[in-house]
């Protein structure tokens, strides 16, 4: 970055995601997308690529689009391949002299379209080395179809396909670590971030992701008040808890070098993150204390490993 981050200056830029879209009040995705797009230099154009998702149906409902840049949506599982296609066209047309301007290619997909059905397409595009950005806005379930589990859903979480019953209580598997899988693709830049506080981490990482040549990936925690079942006005509080309990650590891996972006002043117990959310309510019932213990163990293990990787 050329200058020190200043939120006030950044929000004075013309909006690239305009108002009037249909995202729920308190949706993390809107904050994430406008945050990422705000990192673009004013004079640069983008082509936004979007998988079928809450974001897509809410921001591009015929005859209105909320985007000031060009945009394409074609299907659910192929946003990375779609982005590769735009990038390939750009290269070919630039060579012919038909396009001269600078364009950045930025894909947005939810965890469904990234961790699961879109996984193959993402891996292929990253492996091929296209000069593109892929942003996963991770709300930890298939929210657009009404809150079904994804491989990104945390352990024990309630969803409509992992409901709390008398025999089974929530998701049985741990959350897939997609960020690490992307690190293993050896691409120039991978980062985990969230719309925390004044959005500095989100902004600086978005800038790096957009302006580093080659395939770059950003995994952004994007809370969903409906799916996670917390009051819609508490977006920033939930993010802060996710970061301060180390449930969602902020870090980046640049050319294979791991760097921790944020160490909480005080590492809070995981139950501080779980308690405000209805999707974890059953974990606080008498007899389920072991669930909270297991969750804490898991968070601690992962945090220790991350500290090793980053040499912090």
């Amino acid at each position: 970055m050329r200058t020190v981050y200043d939120l006030k200056r950044e929000v004075e830029k013309p909006e690239r995601l305009t108002g009037g879209h249909r995202l729920c009040a308190g949706c993390g995705a809107g904050v994430v997308v406008s945050g990422v797009l705000r990192a673009l230099d004013k004079e640069d154009r983008a082509v936004v690529v979007n998988a079928t998702s809450c974001l897509e149906v809410s921001t591009f409902m015929y005859p209105y689009t909320a985007y000031m840049d060009s945009y394409i949506h074609s299907a659910f599982e192929n946003s990375a391949a779609t982005c590769s296609g735009v990038e390939a066209a750009y290269n070919a047309l630039k060579r012919r002299g038909k396009v001269e301007e600078t364009f950045k290619f930025i894909t947005f997909a939810g965890d469904g379209g990234t961790y699961d059905i879109g996984f193959q397409s993402l891996s292929g595009a990253m492996e091929r080395g296209h000069d593109m950005v892929y942003v996963c806005y991770d709300n930890e379930a298939y929210m657009n179809t009404g809150i079904q589990r994804s491989s990104s859903t945390p352990l024990f979480s309630r969803t409509t396909t992992t409901p709390i019953g008398s025999v089974h209580k929530g998701k049985k598997q741990h959350k897939k670590d997609l960020t690490e899988i992307l690190v293993a693709h050896n691409i120039p830049y991978v980062a985990q971030t969230a719309p925390l506080g004044n959005l500095k981490d989100l902004h600086t990482k978005s800038y790096k992701t957009i302006y580093t040549e080659g395939p770059c990936f950003l995994n952004v925690l994007s809370p969903c008040p409906r799916g996670w079942d917390y009051p819609m006005e508490q977006l920033t509080e939930i993010i802060k808890l996710a970061v301060d309990t180390c449930v969602w650590p902020l870090y980046e891996v640049e050319e294979g070098v791991w760097r921790l972006s944020h160490t909480p002043k005080k590492k809070l117990p995981v139950e501080d993150f779980l308690r405000p959310q209805g999707r974890f309510r059953h974990m606080f019932q008498k007899g389920n204390e072991w669930m909270i213990e297991e969750a804490q163990q898991y968070v601690d293990q992962k945090w220790e490993r991350l500290l090793e990787h980053t040499g912090a």
Binding site: Y62, P63, S70, T82, A89, A92, L93, K98, Q120
Partner: protein, 396 residues
């Protein structure tokens, strides 16, 4: 310029002459050679094409849709399950009105898995909104691919085009064909200048909306009108193509139909076998003829009805089984086309050649024998049958 090329080589060469901006490339037998031959052109710097070696056919079509929407000419080649894997995207390509060109080297759909020719793959996509044009031989495979872009890119059309050829039979057999000069090809296809595209600096564009019921139907009606307009455009392009090649193409080919009493209707390389059988029958005085369907989508119903109106009996031979229990897809279209005729020929359906089961001239002669019986007795027998399979007794 005369050359000895297989169908795949000829199509790869056509793509080279066109020099598209983007090719989504993924292999599947028997279309694999198309991206392979083209990869050599890419490796030697002979084309400007961005050759995107994707990880699946779903991705190759995704790349084509995105690239075409971005303002670039995009091509693809596949067969069978590859086409099936792209299925949802075929509909997206057509409904986004993107004139992508795809070479479909016809191979049957699994299962069981079989790599040989029939038309079940492209027939399965017949409702997707793609223009579908079939070749009988290598020359037609080459020519059809060259005509695809002037057809699809025309403002009255703006639909993707699938040019089909029989897997192994046409794709791998080597024939002597006439190639056009590259300059001639480039002049014929012209430049691709879409009115709106993602990379247009003057105004951005959004593609692929969530289209609620209040708007969706109008968009589909527009698409249906485009498919109707495609028929005239296909004929127009063929007229232009005849000027530069000397080869004439229509919506279908009529072979010895002027005075035919007994006719076949079929698609693809079997036409070659049928023509040979018809020549023999004609020597014996049988008034046999053939209508070889070239354009299946849009279906030339009116024109086909006129071509068959004066025959006594016709057999529609389907090289795919649609499992309608009522006959194959070509039969359904043909019967529908004949419905309004005041006087209609007797019509039967024979499903043949599934999974590459061979069709011989003797088989064609048998079919004409049956047609002759029907003409004589007026008794059709079973309307819908299969030909070429082992009998129950043989299987025991």
């Amino acid at each position: 310029m005369s050359s000895c090329l297989s169908g795949n080589e000829a199509v790869a060469y056509a793509i080279k002459q066109i020099n598209p901006d983007v090719m989504g490339a993924f292999p599947i037998t028997p279309s694999t050679e198309i991206p392979e031959y083209f990869a050599d052109y890419v490796a030697n710097g002979e084309v400007n094409t961005e050759f995107v070696t994707v990880e699946s056919e779903h991705s190759s079509m995704s790349v084509c849709i995105a690239a075409q929407a971005a303002g670039a000419r995009s091509v693809n080649a596949t067969s069978s399950c590859g086409l099936a894997l792209m299925y949802e995207l075929l509909y997206v390509a057509a409904s986004c009105r993107l004139p992508i060109t795809l070479a479909c080297v016809n191979r049957t759909l699994s299962g069981p898995i079989n790599i040989n020719n029939d038309h079940s793959d492209s027939m399965g996509a017949r409702d997707s909104g793609w223009i579908q044009i079939y070749a009988e031989n290598n020359q037609e495979a080459y020519d059809n691919f060259l005509m695809a872009m002037p057809i699809g890119e025309h403002l009255s059309v703006r639909l993707p085009v699938m040019t089909c050829m029989d897997g192994f039979i046409t794709s791998h057999a080597i024939e002597n064909i006439e190639l056009l000069e590259t300059d001639t090809v480039r002049r014929f296809i012209g430049d691709y200048n879409p009115e709106n595209y993602l990379l247009k600096k003057e105004n951005p564009m959004a593609v692929g909306p969530y289209d609620v019921s209040a708007y969706y139907m109008e968009h589909k009606v527009q698409e249906a009108e485009a498919m109707k307009s495609a028929k005239a455009r296909i004929v127009e392009v063929a007229t232009e193509f005849e000027k530069i090649s000397g080869r004439r193409y229509g919506l279908f080919e009529e072979y010895k139909m002027e005075d035919a009493d007994l006719a076949l209707v079929l698609i693809g390389s079997s036409a070659g076998t049928a023509k040979a059988a018809i020549d023999r029958l004609r020597e014996k005085g049988v008034r046999a003829g053939l209508v070889k369907i070239r354009v299946f989508r849009p279906f030339p119903g009116e024109e086909l009805a006129r071509a068959l109106a004066n025959t006594k009996v016709a057999a529609v031979m389907d090289k795919s089984e649609g499992f309608s229990a009522n006959g194959g897809p070509l039969f359904a279209e043909t019967r529908s086309a004949l419905y309004d005729l005041k006087e209609r020929p007797y019509l039967i359906n024979i499903v043949y050649g599934l999974g590459g089961r061979d069709l011989k001239t003797a088989d064609i002669e048998k079919v004409f024998g049956r047609l002759a019986d029907i003409a004589l007795t007026g008794e059709i027998g079973p309307t819908y049958t299969h030909m070429g399979q082992r009998s129950k007794e043989e299987m025991e």
